[in-house]
Amino acid sequence: MTIPVAASAPAAHGPDRIELRRLLRALLPALSLALVLMAIAWLNPRAISYFGFTLMLNLAIPIALATIAQMFVIAGNDLDLSIGAFVGFVGCVAATWLRETPLVGILVLLGCIAVYAALGALIHLRNLPSIVVTLGMSFVWQGLAILLLPKPGGKAPDWLLAIMGVKPPVVPFPILAALVIAAVAYVGLMRTSYGAILRGSGGNAVAIGRAGWSLLKAKMALFACTGLFGVLSGLALIGITTSADANIGNGYTLLSIAGVILGGGEFVGGRVSPIGAVIGALTLALAASPLLTFMHIPPDWQVAANGAILIVVLAARVLISRKDVER
C-alpha cells in the first residue's frame, strides 16, 4: 500500500476543535458567575468590595462544601438526597456535643463518615438505587437531629467561630475558602492516580472491574468523601450561624445538586468538575439572596424568584452546551 499520507487529513483540524470544545465547557460555569456578579455590580456597585463580598458570600462556604460532597457521589453515578438533613444533623452535633464533650462529638462525626462509607458498600453490594437509600437516610438524619436538639439552640464551639470569623488581608475570607476547597477537591479527584479510578468507576464500571480494581472500594471511597465534606459543610454552617436548628440544612440537598450541574457536571458518566462545582455553588449563593435583595423583591417572593433564577441559569447552560455540540 502506498497511501499512508492522506489518511490523517481530517485529523489536521481535529485536535484544535477538541481543545476549543473543552475550553468552552470549562469556561461555562465561570461565565454564569460573571453574569451574576455583573448584575449585582450594576444594581449596587458598593457591594463589590471586601466587606460586601464577605457579607454576600459568607453562606456560600457551607454550600460549596455540600456541593463538593454531592459531586463525589455524582462522580459514581449516584445521588445523595440526604445531604441537607445530614448537614443539619452535623450542625446539631457541633452545637451540642462537640462543644460540651469534644471527644464524643469528634467520634460521632467520624462515625458519620463511616456510616456514609457503609451506605456506599450497601448500595454497591445489594445493587440498590442510591436515591432510595439516601432518601430513607434523610429521615434518619433528620430524626436524630430533632432528638438531639428538639428546639433551635445550642452554641458553636469557640474555635469554630474563630475559624469562620477570620479576616485575612485583601482577599475576603469566603473567596479564600472557596479557592482552598476547589483546590483540595480538584487535586484529590482530578489529579491523583486513584482519583482517575474513582471517576472511571462512573464512566465505565465494567472496564474498571476488568482491569482488576475493586468497585466496592471505589464506591465506599466516594461515599466516605461525601460524608467528610458533608461534615465540613455542617461545621462551617454552624461556625457562621453560631447556633443550630434541626432543619437548618434542608435546602442544601437541591442546592448542592444544582451546583454540581451548574458547574458542568452530569448526572451519569462520571463527568464532574470540582472547580466548576465550587463556582456553581458561589453563583447559586449569590443569585439566592443578595441579588434578589438588590432587585427589591419582597421576601415573600424570594424563594420563588430564586427557583426562577435557577431554571434560567441551568437552561442557559444546556443551551450553550448544545450549541457547542452542533458546532
Binding site: S8, A9, A196, I197, G269, R271
Partner: protein, 489 residues
C-alpha cells in the same frame, strides 16, 4: 495438530453452560509461543465465551486450562493479568470520561506517584506511535471526544503497553471492525512484528481475508466446538466459510443482468454534504441501494443524520420524499434499548401500527417480533428475553428488523455490519436486495468492499464531501481506495 514452538496456553475439554444454552461444549485449544492464531466462526459459535474464559472473566464449568506448563486451578482476571494475558474486547472497554493517559493508568496499578500522569501519557502515546503512526491522538484528549476509530486505536495500543507485567498473549476480538482500511493495515503489520518477537496472539475477525492474511494457524468454531484446526495456508476463503457451515460459500456478487437505468423510478432523496463544493449531489431513487464509501469518519454518517433530521421535519437544503428509518452503527450507544426485550426493541419504530385503541397491543408486538425472528433468523428461544441475551450479531439483526418492519420507505444504514459474521451478512444482503426490489430505498454507509458490491450506485466521501460518483459497472475496490486517498488538488 501443528505446534509452532513450545505451548503457551492449552485448553482441554472446556465446557460452559448458560442455563440451557451450551456456549462451549468441550473445547480443546492450544496456542504456541510466538504464534498468531486465527479464530473464526458465526456469531454465537462460542468465540466470545472462550475469550472470557481465557481472560478469567468467566470460569469454565468443566475442563482444564494449562498456562506455560502449569495447570490453573483458581483462574481470575488478576491471575490472567499476572500471566501476561491481555484482551481487546469487542465492546470498547475505555472510560469515556477519562483522558487517554488516565485510561492507561486504569490498566496499570503500578503507575502512581507524583509524576504518574506524564508517565502514563508517554507509555500510551509511545505505543500508539509504534502501532498507528500519524494517529492524531493526544494523551490529554478525553476519550469521549475521540471518534470511534481512534478510540479503538487507543484500546488496541493500551493492550500492548507494558509496565511491571510482561505481555505474553494478546487476544484481539474484532479489532479492525471500527478502523478504516489504512489503520487496520497498520495494526496487522504491527501484530506480525510482535509475533516475531515471541508474543502470542489470538485474532478474532469476521473479515476472513485478514485472518487468512496474517494468521499462522486458524481454528474454526461452530456451536461451541472447534470443528477445524489447521495451518492458515491450507485454507482459502471458501474453505473457511464452508467449515463455519450454514451458508453456501459463494459471495453473491452483482445481481445478474439488472442493468437498470437510473431515474426511471420516483426520486426519494436528494442531498448535498455540508462541506461540498460544486454541484455534486447524492441522489437516490425508489428501489435503489446507494453506497456511501470512503475511509471511516469522512462525513458519511453526518449526511445520513442530516437526511434523517430532514425527514423528521427539520430544515435543510435537501429533499426527502418518504418516511425514513435509521439502522445505527454504534449499536450499544445509538441502537438498542438495553433494558427492553427483543420484541420491544423491534416494535419501537412501529408503535402507531401496534396500537389498539389508546394502548399498545402485546399480541401485535409479538406477532411482528416473531415474524422477523423467523424471517432473518434471530437466535433466541423467546422474543420476550432481554435484548442483551443476544450475541452482538443477533442484536444487529434486531436493529435491521426494527427498520425493515417499520413503514419506512427509505432505510439509512450507518455501517451496520460492524462485527457481524459472514453468514448473517449474506442473509442480510439478500434481504436488502429483496426489499429494494419491492420498492424500498437504501442508503448504506460501509467501509467494506464486499458490501459496496451489493450497491447499485456508490458515492465516495473524503473530508466531508463527495469525491467520486461511481455506477455499478465502474465500481472496483481500487477505484474506491484511489478516490478515498486522492490529495485534494
Amino acid at each position: 495438530m501443528i505446534v509452532a514452538g513450545p505451548k503457551l496456553v492449552e485448553l482441554d475439554g472446556v465446557e460452559k453452560h448458560f442455563g440451557a444454552v451450551r456456549a462451549l461444549d468441550g473445547v480443546d485449544l492450544m496456542v504456541g509461543r510466538g504464534e498468531c492464531l486465527g479464530l473464526v466462526g458465526h456469531n454465537g459459535a462460542g468465540k466470545s465465551t472462550l475469550m472470557h474464559i481465557l481472560t478469567g472473566t468467566a470460569s469454565p464449568d468443566r475442563g482444564r486450562m494449562i498456562f506455560a506448563g502449569s495447570e490453573q486451578a483458581a483462574y481470575s482476571p488478576a491471575q490472567a493479568k499476572r500471566l501476561g494475558v491481555r484482551c481487546v474486547f469487542q465492546e470498547l472497554s475505555l472510560c469515556p470520561n477519562l483522558t487517554v493517559a488516565e485510561n492507561a493508568r486504569v490498566f496499570h496499578p503500578g503507575l502512581s506517584g507524583f509524576n504518574w500522569r506524564r508517565k502514563a501519557g508517554r507509555l500510551i502515546i509511545d505505543r500508539l506511535d509504534a502501532i498507528f503512526p500519524g494517529h492524531g491522538v493526544g494523551a490529554s484528549d478525553l476519550v469521549q471526544d475521540l471518534p470511534i476509530g481512534r478510540r479503538q486505536m487507543v484500546e488496541v495500543a493500551r493492550a500492548f503497553t507494558v509496565t511491571d507485567e510482561p505481555v505474553r498473549l494478546v487476544i484481539l476480538d474484532e479489532p479492525t471492525s471500527s478502523l478504516d482500511a489504512h489503520s487496520a493495515r497498520q495494526l496487522l503489520d504491527f501484530m506480525r512484528r510482535v509475533v516475531a518477537d515471541g508474543v502470542s496472539c489470538i485474532f478474532i475477525s469476521h473479515l476472513l481475508g485478514e485472518v487468512l492474511d496474517i494468521c499462522d494457524r486458524i481454528v474454526v468454531m461452530r456451536d461451541g466446538k472447534t470443528v477445524a484446526d489447521a495451518e492458515a495456508s491450507s485454507f482459502d476463503r471458501d474453505g473457511l466459510v464452508a467449515a463455519m457451515g450454514g451458508v453456501d460459500a459463494h459471495v453473491r456478487d452483482a445481481r445478474a443482468g439488472a442493468a437498470h437505468v437510473r431515474g426511471q423510478s420516483p426520486l426519494r432523496v436528494r442531498a448535498r454534504p455540508m462541506r461540498q463544493a460544486g454541484a455534486v449531489e447524492l441522489v437516490a431513487h425508489e428501489g435503489e441501494v446507494i453506497g456511501l464509501a470512503g475511509l471511516a469518519g469522512h462525513g458519511q454518517t453526518d449526511l445520513l443524520l442530516a437526511i434523517y433530521a430532514r425527514a423528521l421535519g427539520g430544515r435543510g437544503d435537501l429533499d426527502v420524499t418518504a418516511t425514513v428509518a435509521l439502522v445505527a452503527g454504534d449499536r450499544q450507544a445509538d441502537g438498542i434499548f438495553p433494558l427492553w426485550s427483543i420484541a420491544e426493541n423491534i416494535g419501537v419504530r412501529s408503535l402507531a401500527r401496534l396500537r389498539r385503541g389508546l394502548l399498545l397491543s402485546p399480541r401485535r408486538e409479538d406477532a411482528l417480533a416473531n415474524f422477523w425472528r423467523g424471517k432473518i433468523g434471530i437466535r433466541t428461544p423467546d422474543v420476550h428475553d432481554n435484548i442483551l441475551s443476544l450475541s452482538g450479531g443477533n442484536q444487529q439483526k434486531v436493529l435491521f428488523a426494527r427498520a425493515l418492519g417499520s413503514d419506512a420507505r427509505i432505510v439509512l444504514m450507518d455501517d451496520p455490519m460492524r462485527g457481524v459474521d459472514v453468514g448473517t451478512k449474506l442473509e442480510v444482503y439478500d434481504l436488502i436486495r429483496e426489499e429494494a426490489d419491492s420498492g424500498r430505498t437504501f442508503l448504506w454507509y460501509t467501509t467494506e468492499a464486499d458490501e459496496l458490491k451489493q450497491c447499485d450506485h456508490v458515492y465516495v466521501f473524503r473530508n466531508g464531501s463527495i469525491v467520486a460518483d461511481l455506477t455499478r459497472d465502474e465500481l472496483t475496490e481500487e477505484k474506491v481506495i484511489q478516490s478515498s486517498f486522492e490529495e485534494a488538488s
